[in-house]
Structure formats: structure tokens, C-alpha cells
């Protein structure tokens, strides 16, 4: 990758479309407003801006990588196509009955989210496959034809097919597809055995329905995009970022658009992973905080943790269970309703609560002086002195401290009998604690101890809160990279071509069948590699094998990584030993005497990670002890400001430093604020900040 390749990353987010162009070692970025009606327009505008900055023509771009929130938004806003589901007789309501439970136990007026497809668009056929994969009731072609003729009159654009146990035997689903191709050739078809061949009908059916629902929309968008870029003179291939943190071809993305869900945040995690590899960090916690939510992800060995099911479109305070499950390979992220715009109130226990309700950009926090009267996190940050009212967003918005103080007093101070500053401190402590709790729980769920982790923070609000979060989590080291505002788009440029294939096949360790396992893993490997090959015909491809195991009788599987050589020559005792090691790391002890089950098998094929700036991999002075005497010199302080330090619980005189004016290895001791146009990095009294050769600001715990 040393040749001067010209590549462009594009991230369509809810508010902004970020475009990043890399020409050799130079980077140019643009931020334009997302245009909902024609999202491709934002890309064209952004592309023209960066091309002008870089003085190149669109035809010079050699590769475009694109990630988008459009798929997610279409699901949240229910803007999909007219779609039907064909399913097994007796199971018409699987996507409506969900788990038959309430995600909030104490709300008598709870409303469950509506299924993506109303009941009248769900059809059944008489057929049945058993849990062994054998056919119990054969599907008659004639019956399928009769149904398809009925569907003809109803102008469906897209049809999802999901039968019970089709992940073991897809024949019936394929028969329906063949009839549809014959009789309704214009309708787009999605099979659950293709989209998500995993056990658990609610998740699988919901996933295939979601795929079908957004497929016409995404296909037409991707076609338009390709056409318009070509009109602009773009000649290169366009690739898409997928939820698992890799890149797939435009064609595959159009076929499985559900895999594009959450591709933007995935880019953020890849961005953090790239910083992690630049610094040789094996244990990283990425922390992305924007206006409405914060996202947390564990990155081990420079690879973000992945999961095979997640929930999209949560309808109730980001509560688990209030959205819809999508079972596809995805970067495992925790998202909580905590951002700069999150609003605070005092509940009946006299406790300050923050979020998930957000002030959004209109009216925004009270300090925007656009009519907001309730205190948001940004208001509290301002009152604590973390923000400069005259220099917010490069001075483009003047913040009104009085309005913030008023909102804090009205909503919190008067009820709790505290002043605005204490209310601000309380608000920020609560939101930081919420994020810290989410990180702690996520770490425990993955058997990790955050004490030896490094945090990488990006997103507009993250640098204001990351330092305090590190204090709360006992994390000693924090990196705030350059380009944090367009992190996802940069992440796209660092992502490998990759595809993960999953399948549910149930096997007990006592009935371990090496040849069946070998064959299954080879099949999956072929499938995954095929997708990657369609993107890149030459690059070396590595495969990673993962199996999901548990003790017989448990309901929770532990993902266990298996070496390629073990996948080629599977041995029961090796698999068991790997499982026990993972289990012990998670839960402290193994269970004697029980059989072990394997439920899901997964193979990820990937090209090597890209790093366009390998020459930036610099050797850092070892300052882990936080001893500033090893550092060259103190950064130039441009002023002083009183900033409230939550750990000390007092206002302290903090140094102000301009990030751009800092030279490599210059440092500033906390309490301090490192100011830049996009954001401000708060250095708590417990930390010292150093500028790194790649421009990152590193915060480390200070020696006392």
C-alpha cells in the first residue's frame, strides 16, 4: 500500500454526510448536510469539495468505500417497500408474538413495537421440516403456485420467505423462490436460509423480513449512486461497508442490504482499531459520543468484537427488547442514550436522570438560545467551564451561559436545593456514570477487565467526557486521534474486504463428528471467501473460525475461536479444552461432568488490514508512569479558565492550550483544556496530556 493510491470514504449519517479523501499520505475531508430525498446528492457535493481541496478530478479516484445509515433509518422510520412474508402454516405470527414478554415490567401502558409487516401481508404454506432437517410435510409446487397467483393481484414489490428449520434444509424455501421467479419475475425475493441461516425463528424471520423490506429501496439507491458518480466522471469501483466491519461489493450489498445496518458506527470501530494497531495496543475500549447517543465497543488484538445478533430500532428508552432482532454478523457495540443533547430531569426519588430524551439540533440545549428550556449535557459542560461560550464549533455558535444556568436551576437546582454549578456537576456525573456502567457491564459480559485497557475517544462530545470516564473505569491511558469528527469515514478506508458466514448446526461433544465438521467449515469458508474474492481477485485471504459452545442445558453460548489447523483436523478434546478455557475466563470455574453442545459455526474470510500510513507507526517514549520529566517541554498555555473537576469535586484553575499549536511530545498537565475547532479535550487534574507524532493527544494518569 505504499503507492499513492487515491481513495474516498463516505459516511451518510443522520445529520451529516462525511467525505474523506486520501491522496497518499494527505487527507481531505468535508462535512455536508444529509439530504434525505436524494442522499447521493450529499456525496456528490462532498466529493466535489474534497476533490477541489486535493486538486484532483473525480476520475482520479481509484476506490470509493461507502457506509450509510439509510438502511437503519428505513427500518426505524418504516419506509420500506410493500412486502409479503411466506411462512410455515401455523406460524403466521412469529414476528408479531416476539418473545411473548414485556421489556418493561412496571409499565401498565406498555406498547410493543409493531411488526415490520402487518398480519394481512403474512401468508402460510402447508409444509414442515423437522429439527433433524428431514421433511415431515413435503411442499407441493401446485400449492405454491396457487399462493403466488393470489399474491400477483396485490402489487408486492418484495417477498420474504421464512420456513421453520430452513437453516438445516433450505429446499422448500428454494422451491418458493423458483415459483416466484417463474410467475412473478419482477418481485424481489429474500430467503431466510440465505440471509441468516441461524436457529431461532423469531430472529431469522425478522431478519429476512427486514432484508426484503429495505431491498428495493437500497437497490434503487445504490443503482442511482453508481450512475450519478459515473456521470461525475468516477470510473472506479464502489464498495460498501457492512455491519461486521468489512467491505463488500455493491452487488452483494444490494442483495443483502440488511448487512448494511449500523455500517456507520462499524466504521467508527474500525477507525479505533486502526489507531490501536498504529500504537500496537491489544486491548482498546472505543468510545464514540455524539449528540444523542454514546457507543462503546471492545477492540481486542486490533479487531473489534463481533456478535451474531443485535437489536435495531429500539422504541423505548434504548431498552433491551424494545426493538427488533437482526441476526447478522455485526460489530458488538453498546449504545446508550447519552449525548451532548441528552436532557436531564429530577425523578420522584429526587434523583437526577439524564437521557435518553434529547434536545436534538432543534431547539438544542438551552445554551443554543433557540428556545430550549431544559438542561442538556452540553449546558452542564458549559457551566462547569469545559466549554468556552465564545468559541464553540470554531466560534460559529455563541453559547448562552445564562440560559444554561437558568435551565439547570429550574429543572434541578430548585428541586434539590443546590446551585447551578452543583446541578451541572450532578448532571454530568450521572451521565458519565451511565456510560461507565454500560462499559463495565459490557466488559464483564465479555470476561474482560478494563483496568489494562486503553480508551480511544472520538465523536463531538467524547473528548469532553472521556477523561472522567477513564477515571471512573480505572483506565490509565486515553487517545484522542486526529479526525475524530469524521472517524467513521476514515474507518471505511482502513477496513478489509471481509465476509462472515454463519450456520446453525447442532452437535454434542460426545457425538463429535470430525468429518462433518470439516465439511461444514469448508463450505462456510468457501461461501465467505467467494464474497471476498468478488471484491478482490488477488489479495491474500485469511479465514477465522469461530464456534459457539455451551454446556448441555445452558441457553447462552460462548464464542470460541478455533485455529485454521484445528478446523481442518477437528479434535473433540481440543474443542472441549478451548471451550473450558473461555468459560473459565468468563465465569471463574468450569462445570464437571456435563456434555458440551456446539450450536453455531462461523467462518470469517478477510483480506489483510490496511494501513495507508504505515510510516506513521512511530516508537513512542514510554511515559506510562506519567512522569513528565521524560518529556521535551510544556505546551504553550494561551490562557486560564476555571473548570470544575468532578473527581476533586471543586473548581480548579485550568490551562488552555491550542491543539494545533502543540508540537510532538509537548505536554500539558491537568487540569487543562486542549481546544480545537471541532471540540475540546478536557484533561482532568489526575492526568497529563501529550501530543503524539501522528497528532493524537494522549492522556495518561499522572504520578502524584
Amino acid at each position: 500500500m505504499t503507492e499513492h493510491k487515491i481513495r474516498m470514504g463516505v459516511d451518510i449519517g443522520g445529520t451529516f454526510t462525511d467525505v474523506v479523501l486520501e491522496v497518499g499520505n494527505s487527507q481531505y475531508s468535508a462535512k455536508v448536510l444529509t439530504t434525505y430525498i436524494a442522499p447521493e446528492q450529499g456525496i456528490i457535493d462532498g466529493m466535489q469539495q474534497v476533490c477541489t481541496k486535493a486538486r484532483i478530478a473525480a476520475s482520479d479516484i481509484q476506490q470509493i468505500i461507502h457506509g450509510t445509515t439509510l438502511a437503519t433509518n428505513a427500518l426505524i422510520e418504516r419506509r420500506g417497500a410493500k412486502t409479503a412474508l411466506i411462512t410455515t402454516q401455523g406460524f403466521r405470527d412469529v414476528i408479531e408474538m416476539r418473545t411473548e414478554s414485556r421489556f418493561e415490567q412496571y409499565d401498565l401502558n406498555l406498547q410493543l413495537p409493531e411488526p415490520l409487516l402487518p398480519r394481512q401481508d403474512r401468508y402460510t404454506l402447508h409444509e414442515r421440516v423437522a429439527a433433524s432437517g428431514e421433511v415431515l410435510v413435503p411442499l407441493q409446487r401446485k400449492q405454491v403456485e396457487e399462493l403466488v397467483i393470489e399474491l400477483k393481484g396485490k402489487s408486492y414489490q418484495s417477498i420474504a420467505v421464512g420456513f421453520l428449520h430452513s437453516y438445516l434444509n433450505p429446499e422448500h424455501e428454494r422451491l418458493v423462490r423458483s415459483v416466484l421467479e417463474d410467475l412473478l419475475p419482477d418481485v424481489i425475493v429474500s430467503l431466510s436460509s440465505d440471509v441468516s441461516p441461524q436457529m431461532r425463528e423469531y430472529e431469522r424471520f425478522n431478519t429476512v423480513v427486514a432484508n426484503a423490506y429495505i431491498k428495493p429501496l437500497m437497490k434503487s439507491y445504490l443503482d442511482r449512486l453508481a450512475e450519478q458518480l459515473s456521470d461525475q466522471g468516477v470510473q472506479c469501483t464502489i464498495f460498501l461497508m457492512h455491519s461486521g466491519g468489512g467491505i463488500i461489493s455493491l452487488e452483494n450489498a444490494a442483495e443483502f442490504p440488511v448487512r448494511l445496518v449500523e455500517s456507520g458506527p462499524a466504521g467508527g470501530a474500525v477507525f479505533a482499531a486502526d489507531i490501536a494497531s498504529r500504537y500496537g495496543l491489544d486491548k482498546v475500549l472505543s468510545f464514540d459520543m455524539g449528540g444523542t447517543t454514546a457507543k462503546i465497543c471492545l477492540i481486542k488484538n486490533q479487531t473489534p468484537k463481533t456478535s451474531r445478533v443485535f437489536e435495531v430500532a429500539r422504541t423505548y428508552r434504548f431498552k433491551k427488547g424494545s426493538g427488533m432482532p437482526i441476526s447478522i454478523p455485526v460489530i458488538d457495540m453498546v449504545e446508550i442514550g447519552a449525548g451532548g443533547g441528552s436532557l436531564a430531569h429530577v425523578d420522584s426519588m429526587r434523583q437526577i436522570r439524564v437521557g435518553p430524551e434529547s434536545a436534538g439540533s432543534e431547539p438544542g440545549p438551552a445554551c443554543y438560545a433557540r428556545g430550549g428550556t431544559r438542561p442538556a449535557v452540553t449546558d452542564a459542560d458549559l457551566i462547569m467551564g469545559k466549554l468556552d461560550p465564545d468559541n464553540f464549533a470554531g466560534g460559529s455558535i455563541k453559547l448562552d451561559s445564562k440560559a444554561s444556568a437558568q435551565a439547570l436551576n429550574d429543572e434541578i437546582g430548585s428541586t434539590l436545593d443546590i446551585d447551578a454549578l452543583t446541578a451541572a456537576y450532578g448532571l454530568v456525573e450521572v451521565v458519565d456514570e451511565n456510560m461507565a456502567n454500560a462499559a463495565r457491564v459490557h466488559a464483564v459480559e465479555n470476561g474482560e477487565d478494563l483496568a489494562d485497557y486503553t480508551m480511544i475517544a472520538f465523536g463531538g462530545a467524547a473528548p469532553l467526557h472521556a477523561g472522567r470516564l477513564c477515571e471512573k473505569l480505572g483506565v490509565q491511558r486515553l487517545l484522542v486521534p486526529v479526525g475524530a469528527g469524521v472517524g467513521s469515514a476514515i474507518g471505511f478506508l482502513r477496513a478489509p474486504y471481509s465476509f462472515e458466514a454463519n450456520r446453525s448446526v447442532y452437535m454434542r461433544a460426545s457425538e463429535f463428528d470430525p468429518s462433518a465438521i470439516k465439511e461444514l467449515l469448508n463450505q462456510l469458508s468457501e461461501e465467505a471467501t467467494g464474497f471476498v474474492r468478488s471484491c478482490d481477485a488477488q489479495a491474500p485471504i485469511t479465514t477465522q473460525y469461530k464456534v459457539y459452545m455451551r454446556y448441555a442445558g445452558q441457553g447462552w453460548e460462548v464464542p470460541v475461536e478455533v485455529a485454521p489447523q484445528q478446523a481442518q483436523e477437528p479434535k473433540a478434546d481440543e474443542f472441549i479444552e478451548l471451550f473450558e478455557r473461555h468459560y473459565k475466563a468468563l465465569f471463574g470455574r468450569v462445570v464437571e461432568g456435563l456434555d458440551i453442545e456446539i450450536t453455531v459455526w462461523s467462518v470469517n474470510a478477510t483480506t489483510p488490514k490496511l494501513s495507508t500510513n504505515p510510516n506513521q507507526r512511530d516508537v513512542e517514549p514510554d511515559v506510562k508512569g506519567g512522569d513528565s520529566s521524560q518529556l521535551s517541554s510544556a505546551a504553550k498555555t494561551v490562557g486560564l479558565r476555571a473548570i470544575f473537576d468532578p473527581a476533586r469535586a471543586e473548581r480548579m484553575e485550568a490551562s488552555l492550550v491550542n491543539r494545533d499549536a502543540m508540537s510532538t511530545s509537548e505536554f500539558v498537565e491537568g487540569p487543562a483544556a486542549i481546544v480545537e475547532d471541532e471540540t475540546t479535550i478536557i484533561v482532568p487534574a489526575s492526568r497529563i496530556a501529550i501530543k503524539r507524532a501522528d497528532g493524537s493527544i494522549e492522556l495518561i494518569e499522572r504520578k502524584i
Binding site: Q89, Q105, A131, G553
Partner: protein, 568 residues
């Protein structure tokens, strides 16, 4: 400046303790072996001060443990003895009266030490796979037949596990490895809670929890009392009749709202049943309290102070206050009906607040499958026990339809059909919504569901039914109609009963219709848009629109035409 700053730190610590018990509960879900814990959330976890007052309880878990958990640790302190509590100890019990209501629930309590001082306790409860005896069902005539009884005792002292005790347990249960696995899971989850708590105490340089407990309890007490003070001071009676085992059971309640507490007395309720559906008082208290909290103070977390103003009693030897040695294994069957009984009274004091009656009791059943015995069974047949969790419809609300096939008051989830079919040689042929089963009303009751189940080729089975609402379906409110009743039958025409173990021969299936929730408000007030939606989705059939909503044939035809137009 000291006072307000303390306030912020205390708020953070309260948040943290709620997060700690949530972590504790999640760890339990991941490691437990019993289906009802991992799939259905039949568990609880909590943290206590040294006096045994509950400070926080995980939201994850089922309401049936709420009060029982709050009371349990005090029993442990009393039985073990204050000077017999050491670092490294672990205690347990499955006493239905001092634990959580039946032998299948094992409660594990761990004292928490910091700087060599007892600073509190962690407790957790899980429904275990098996506890010996007759197995999980209503057929025992006393608690002695229901399984192994473990009085409050030490599982470990100063870090030393009681091996003799564990051997005794192993010898008395059907799945010893899994049960020991469950005990491990319970112990581990308390350890996780303890570790997190100590980290918090170190971060805030605390040497004990007294200040933070006072803060949590006084704020919770005040918030609860404020909520109660807003209510009218009045009293009302409620009652509900349900199927019972052989004879119907009447549940009666007198509810009295006072200035600073709510008194709920179940006098007049039927006496004990011969079968194992009797309810220890702790379980009655849990569901009565849960019902009241949902209606009055839903956002206040459970702890000793927030639960204290709810005073719940029932006469001894009534079915809601069964004493030792009454059989109590299926106490949920009656216990789940307590909220609807309480709401029958509360509706008279607080109109337009509570829902109409719903399915109440979960529609659970167990299948004991074996190779067919009427002729030689094929070679690949086997024995298996399969327990499933299912729900009928919930009652309609004052401004909303009832939830279809959704558990209330229980907090459990169903299992995927595909997972159930992997767990034993069963086939679930049907599991879908049951049209017309939601009681008619301005707001319709939630639909119940159809199920159809059988064994795979070569097997026969016993079917243990645990259903209610066969004879007494959910009743509507404010003119709303009743929900559909439970029905159960065999595919070969043989009649079946709502409760008890019943044989199903090779080739036959069990056909089930689970009950719907009742309606709220007069059916004639239901909006045309909602009726069209009901008809279009098939939630209500044209016949039922005519019968239950009084629509004419012409009106229905017109609706059908407009639906057809919209579809094209």
C-alpha cells in the same frame, strides 16, 4: 459546599448499586442450567445492608420474587446467627416460606466483607432444573413429596464447601450435575456482585454502607409515601373466581388506601387445595405488591423502604397463605391471578388506571416423552422432559388494546419453537394468534394463541397441563366483554383437562387454545379504523364483528370492500 457534593456522590453510588445487581443477574442468566432461568428470567438478585435490608434489586427477574427477596436475608441472619457469619461463607435454602415460595427456587446468600468488617449481603434466587421428589407438577399432596428440602444452612464456611451436603444433594435429584452447576452459578453471581461493590467502596473511600443505605432508603420511602398521599383515602373490595384444580377457587381482597400505607387483606379467599397449587404468603405478597406498584409507583425501584408501605396479609391456611406442609410446587398458577384480583378492587378507587382482566396464569405445560409402549418402539427413540412457557392475551387498557400473547403479570419469555424441538423429540405444529379470543370492547383484549403439539414418530407422552381460565375467562371492564376461555383437546377426540398429567398415545396431538384478555369499554365505542384493522389483519373475524360488536352484514361488506380497494 460539603452537603450538596455528597448528594452527587450518593446519587452516583445508588446508580452504581443498581448496575451492580443487574450485572449479578446477567451473570446468573448466562450460567444457569434451568430453562426457566435462562430463557424465561425466573430469577432475582439483590444487595443488602448488614441488617438485611434490601437496598437494590435487579430489574431483570420476575415479580414473584420481589417481596420474598426483600424478606429472605433477614431470615438468614436470624437462622445463621450474627456471630456465626464469616468471610468466605455462603448460605442457601429452598424453604418455600423463608425463600421464594417453592422448593424449586434455591436462594443463595453471601455475606460481603470489606476491611474485615461485615458490610452487607448479596442474595440471588433461581428456579433450578430439578429438586427430586415427584418432579415439577401439582400432583403432590404435601411439600414432603415435592422434593428435597434444604433449611437455611451453610453451603460453605470460611471458603470451605460442605462436600457432605453436596453429596447428599447429588443423591436426591434427577440431574445432579446441572443442579450443582446451578449452585455454582448462584454462588458466582454473588461473588461478581461483591467484587463490584468493593470496587465502588474503594473508589469512594467508604468503610461501610450506612450512609448510602440511609440515602437510598429514605429517598425511596419518601417517594413512595408521596405517591400514596396523592391517592384518595378509600377502601374497596375485589374478587375473582378461577378454575382451581378440581373445584373453583374464590380469591377475595379488601383494599384500603390510608394516608401513609396501602392495606391489602385477602380474607374470604378459598381454603387450601389438596394439590400443589397453594401459595405461601411471600408469593402472594410479591404479586399483590407488584400489581399495586405498577399502578401507583412504577418508577420507584424495589427495596425494603419502597416495599414497606404495602401491607399484605391473608388468613392462615387459605390458598394465599399456605403453611407448612401444604404442597406448593405450582404456586404460580394461583399467584399469577393475584394482580387481577387486586385490580378488581383498585379500579373502584382509581378508575381508568388498571387494565381489564387478562390470561393471568402462564400457559405452561410439560411433556414427558418416551418410546411408544403400545408396540415395539423404533431404535432411535428416547425419553425426554420438555417444559414450555407460553402466554395468553393481556387485558385491554383504559386507552390501549391488550397485548397479544404476552405474559402479565409474569415477566417470562417464551422459547423459540426451533430450540424446543432440539431439546426433545417433540413437534410443535402450530403456535399462532387466536382470532376472536380478545374480549370485545372500545379497547380490545389481547389475543390468546393456538398451539398444537405432539411427539415425533415412535414416541408417546404424558402431558402435564397447568392451565386456568377454562371455566372462568377474563372479565371485561366498563362494558368490555370477556376474553376467550382456555380449551384443550386431543386430536383423536378424547377430552382433556386444564390441569394434571394426562396420557397422549402414539400419533395423537394435543390441541390448545390459550385464553384472551378481556375488553375495556363498550364494543360499540370501538373506532371504525380499529375495526377495519382488526378485520384486515384477521384479529377479529366477520362473524365476531357481527356477534360481539353488533355490526350489520352490510357494514362488514363495506369494510371488506374498502380493504380490497386499499390493497390494490
Amino acid at each position: 459546599m460539603t452537603k450538596p457534593l455528597n448528594l452527587v456522590a450518593k446519587q452516583v453510588m445508588w446508580n452504581r448499586m443498581i448496575s451492580v445487581v443487574e450485572e449479578q443477574a446477567q451473570a446468573l442468566i448466562r450460567t444457569a442450567f434451568s430453562t426457566s432461568v435462562r430463557e424465561a428470567g425466573d430469577l432475582s438478585a439483590g444487595v443488602y445492608d448488614p441488617q438485611g435490608r434490601m437496598l437494590a434489586q435487579a430489574v431483570t427477574g420476575t415479580p414473584g420474587h420481589v417481596n420474598a427477596m426483600a424478606a429472605a436475608v433477614a431470615h438468614f441472619i436470624r437462622r445463621i446467627g450474627q456471630d456465626n457469619i464469616f468471610d468466605g461463607d455462603v448460605y442457601l435454602t429452598n424453604d418455600p416460606w423463608e425463600g421464594t415460595g417453592h422448593l424449586h427456587d434455591i436462594t443463595v446468600v453471601t455475606p460481603s466483607f470489606h476491611q474485615e468488617k461485615l458490610i452487607g449481603f448479596f442474595a440471588c434466587t433461581a428456579h433450578v432444573v430439578d429438586i427430586g421428589g415427584r418432579g415439577f407438577g401439582a400432583d403432590a399432596e404435601s411439600v414432603y413429596e415435592e422434593g428435597l428440602y434444604i433449611p437455611i444452612m451453610k453451603l460453605a464456611e470460611r471458603g470451605q464447601e460442605d462436600r457432605a451436603f453436596l453429596n447428599l444433594v447429588r443423591g436426591n435429584v434427577r440431574e445432579p450435575d446441572q443442579l450443582i452447576g446451578d449452585l455454582n452459578a448462584l454462588t458466582t453471581c454473588n461473588e461478581i456482585g461483591h467484587k463490584r461493590l468493593i470496587e465502588m467502596m474503594e473508589e469512594f473511600s467508604l468503610s461501610d454502607l450506612s450512609e448510602i443505605s440511609e440515602f437510598i432508603l429514605s429517598n425511596s420511602r419518601r417517594a413512595t409515601l408521596e405517591k400514596i398521599a396523592e391517592l384518595p383515602q378509600a377502601s374497596a373490595d375485589g374478587e375473582m373466581t378461577i378454575d382451581g384444580y378440581d373445584t373453583p377457587i374464590i380469591l377475595k381482597v379488601s383494599l384500603e388506601i390510608k394516608a401513609d400505607r396501602i392495606i391489602c387483606d385477602f380474607s374470604g379467599t378459598s381454603g387450601l387445595d389438596k394439590k400443589g397449587i397453594n401459595v405461601p404468603l411471600v408469593y402472594t405478597q410479591a404479586y399483590a405488591c407488584y400489581a399495586l406498584k405498577c399502578a401507583i409507583a412504577p418508577e420507584i425501584p424495589n427495596n425494603t423502604a419502597s416495599l414497606a408501605p404495602f401491607e399484605i396479609s391473608a388468613p392462615e391456611h387459605s390458598i394465599l397463605n399456605a403453611l407448612h406442609p401444604a404442597p406448593v410446587a405450582l404456586r404460580h398458577v394461583i399467584g399469577h391471578m393475584v394482580p387481577d384480583t387486586v385490580y378488581n378492587a383498585l379500579d373502584k378507587i382509581l378508575p381508568h388506571t388498571v387494565p381489564a382482566e387478562g390470561a393471568g396464569t402462564l400457559c405452561n405445560f410439560q411433556m414427558s416423552i418416551r418410546p411408544r409402549t403400545d408396540q415395539v418402539a423404533p431404535a432411535n427413540t428416547r425419553r425426554a422432559e420438555v417444559l414450555t412457557f407460553n402466554s395468553g392475551g393481556a387485558g385491554a387498557r383504559p386507552t390501549l388494546d391488550g397485548m397479544n400473547a404476552t405474559a402479565f403479570p409474569s415477566g417470562v419469555m417464551t422459547m423459540p419453537v426451533e430450540a424446543t424441538e432440539h431439546s426433545g423429540p417433540v413437534i410443535i405444529w402450530r403456535k399462532e394468534l387466536r382470532p376472536d379470543s380478545g374480549g370485545a370492547g372500545q379497547f380490545r383484549g389481547g389475543l390468546g394463541q393456538f398451539m398444537e403439539v405432539g411427539a415425533t414418530q415412535g414416541h408417546e407422552f404424558d402431558f402435564s397441563a397447568m392451565f386456568d381460565r377454562v371455566r372462568f375467562p377474563a372479565r371485561g371492564r366498563q362494558g368490555g366483554a370477556s376474553g376467550g376461555a382456555t380449551t384443550i383437546a386431543r386430536s383423536d377426540g378424547q377430552a382433556m383437562f386444564g390441569k394434571g398429567k394426562q396420557f397422549v398415545p402414539h400419533g395423537a396431538r394435543v390441541l390448545l387454545e390459550f385464553p384472551g384478555g378481556a375488553g375495556y369499554g363498550k364494543p360499540s365505542e370501538r373506532s371504525p379504523e380499529k375495526l377495519i384493522r382488526d378485520l384486515q389483519g384477521g384479529y377479529v373475524t366477520p362473524e365476531d364483528l357481527e356477534q360481539s360488536y353488533g355490526l350489520s352484514r352490510e357494514q362488514i361488506n363495506a369494510m371488506e370492500r374498502s380493504i380490497l380497494d386499499s390493497e390494490q
